[in-house]
């Protein structure tokens, strides 16, 4: 850690990991409800568990992005953060607002929460991923503005690098696009059309800029490869992201009442969306192979490489699988979608946040890298979580193929609920894989507490380990 104000990243990372645990517990509840339909009913109906699961995911990823920005920006800008106090204040505001919203989901019936928070005045609730009360959404906007001010001023007054500029563009895009969550026309077609401006243009647009920037930062640090080379890659990757991904939004405009030409625009452009993810994988392996130093933080290197591979598999391969209109006609809104959603979110965004935490947290705790035993445990957790996520995806894909066949494609299409019962075996296996994921996560948390012999450090912090 070179600047003392980078320390504000620490509470952000701790909150992120804490909420991550909550997310997975609710995922397991839902996974069980898929096969034991009345589990925890009526205390926690499925939709409530789902809101908690997905909203916790988004909130902890945002905590992770913000923590990453607070750590990375001072180092890139070569100056202290504009206002560490603002960063800490926003941390508590965001955490309290987030926790209150989740408690609202769990303790009050959703219709009651809508009434309580005055949804009738400005109705924005009850849409997938955007279930938060309007007041929470406004709170998120305020936090985002304060955050952008803090980061933006730091960059503006300091050294401007491609890494920090791309991060800033990504984060600004994130905040601006979120404003569309406040637009909810009665016309369902328009509602859906602009809903995707938040969801798609986030994960297949501006978030990829954030992902690329964090990955570039960590690769510069752990490989020591020339910044010029890494930043050139970064620009090419994110250029491909936006060139393909913006029009690629059309892969959600096939069946929601929008004109038929989107089948062409959406299919052609989204079919090219895997390109930037593929480049990211080549990039990461290339840089690690050309490394000029052996950074003692092996776990962070593993996360960085794993992230690039899994993002390509989840977003690139599993995305391509169902993105062409003639395929999507049958797979739209099935377990295939869920399979892709899980691996893509995990591979791209969960893993990039964990990469950053893995790199930065030891430094925030005053060492270049964790001790050997802690790193070994962290790497075990990497493999357990990653392999179990691969299996979750495979089981859901199998379920999805059967579902498409029985419900949509065969001669005598069967009703939804009849088909679901036939998929029970796959849902059970998904639940088992989910338990392994939880085990990996527990080990991950435990790895922060493992004591051991300090890694030797040559002066300058990130130089070679004394070997």
């Amino acid at each position: 850690m070179k600047y003392s104000s980078q320390a504000v990243a620490k509470p952000y990372f701790i909150a992120a990991v804490g909420l991550f645990v909550g997310q997975i517990l609710f995922g397991l509840i839902m996974g069980l409800q898929y096969v034991v339909g009345d589990f925890l009913f009526p205390a926690i109906p499925f939709n409530v568990a789902r809101m908690v699961h997905t909203n916790l995911l988004i909130v902890w990823l945002l905590f992770g992005f913000m923590g990453a920005a607070y750590y990375l920006v001072p180092e890139e800008a070569e100056r202290e953060l504009q206002s560490p106090r603002l960063a800490l204040a926003l941390f508590w505001i965001f955490l309290v607002a987030g926790v209150l919203t989740i408690l609202g989901y769990l303790l009050v019936p959703y219709a009651g929460l809508a009434k309580l928070t005055g949804n009738a005045i400005w109705p924005t609730m009850g849409r997938e991923f955007l279930e938060q009360p309007t007041i929470t959404k406004l709170g998120i906007v305020v936090v985002a503005l304060g955050f952008l001010f803090n980061i933006g001023m730091t960059i503006l007054r300091g050294r401007k690098t491609a890494v920090s500029l791309v991060l800033l563009i990504g984060l600004t895009g994130l905040a601006v696009l979120f404003l569309f969550s406040l637009y909810n026309p009665t016309n369902l077609v328009e509602d859906k059309f602009y809903w995707w401006w938040v969801v798609h243009l986030w994960v297949e647009g501006v978030w990829e800029l954030i992902l690329g920037s964090i990955l570039a930062f960590v690769l510069i640090k752990i490989t020591g490869v020339d910044r010029e080379v890494i930043e050139k890659w970064l620009y090419v990757i994110i250029a491909m992201t936006l060139i393909t991904g913006v029009i690629g939004t059309g892969h959600h405009y096939y069946w929601i009442g929008t004109p038929g030409y989107w089948k062409w625009w959406g299919s052609i452009f989204s079919a090219m969306e895997p390109i930037p993810f593929f480049m990211m994988t080549v990039f990461a392996f290339n840089m690690v192979n050309r490394r000029r130093r052996n950074h003692p933080n092996k776990a962070a290197t593993l996360w960085a490489l794993g992230c690039a591979v899994m993002a390509f598999l989840g977003a690139g391969v599993w995305g391509f699988l169902h993105t062409l209109a003639p395929v999507n006609y049958y797979t739209h809104g099935t377990q295939i979608t869920a399979a892709h959603g899980h691996m893509a979110f995990y591979g791209a965004y969960v893993m990039i946040v964990l990469t950053m935490i893995s790199y930065a947290m030891p430094q925030l705790r005053g060492r270049v890298a964790n001790n050997e035993r802690a790193q070994v445990l962290e790497m075990w957790s990497f493999w357990l979580m990653t392999v179990s996520m691969v299996f979750i995806t495979l089981f859901l894909t199998a379920a999805g193929i059967l579902q498409v066949w029985l419900q949509r494609y065969s001669e005598n299409p069967q009703p939804f609920m009849v088909v679901q019962e036939k998929l029970a075996l796959f849902y059970w296996m998904r639940e088992v894989a989910g338990l392994v994921f939880l085990l990996g996560l527990v080990l991950y948390v435990a790895s922060f507490f493992v004591q051991g012999e300090e890694v030797q450090v040559v002066e300058g912090g990130t130089a070679e380990a004394a070997a």
């Binding site: 409800q33 009913f41 009850g126 997938e128 369902l188 059309f193 080379v229 090419v236």
Partner: protein, 141 residues
């Protein structure tokens, strides 16, 4: 990537390419806005349908169901439920939940008034008339 291809060239591709495709996307958005009145069944959007959408949202039906294929995958598609089941069934169904069948997936009781139930039905009638390029493939959704 090396040689004559420089970082500033890469940066220019990023800014130029992104700007171009964002503008193209906005143009397509404009065209879509012009085109959807012919497909979105908006003539059916009455105050009752608007109330139906509000009931739909304020009870988070999307947390279990899909509508036009978007939402959760736990319970049946409802965009075409009006055509699959008809108005009387829909109302009777919602009133009679939860089924309480042991081990079966459960839908909560929402305590809706008759007015709200009729509004939901009107909403489903509207969604079933949206031109979705013939999706879903069959009535099962």
């Amino acid at each position: 990537m090396s040689g004559s291809f420089t970082k500033s060239m890469a940066r220019n591709i990023f800014y130029g390419g992104s700007l171009f495709f964002v503008l193209l996307f906005l143009a397509l958005t404009f065209d879509t806005q012009e085109a959807i009145p012919h497909r979105d069944a908006h003539q059916m959007i009455t105050p009752q349908v608007a109330l139906g959408k509000k009931v739909w949202e304020e009870n988070d039906c999307i947390g279990c169901h899909t509508i036009l294929g978007e939402g959760a995958y736990f319970a049946p598609e409802l965009g075409n439920v009006y055509k699959r089941r008809g108005p009387a069934f829909i109302k009777a169904w919602i009133k009679s939940q939860p089924s309480g069948v042991h081990g079966r997936r459960q839908m909560p009781q929402f305590h809706l008034t008759d007015k709200e139930l009729d509004a939901l039905v009107a909403f489903f009638k509207y969604t079933s008339e949206i031109d979705t390029n013939h999706w879903p493939p069959n009535i099962q959704g």
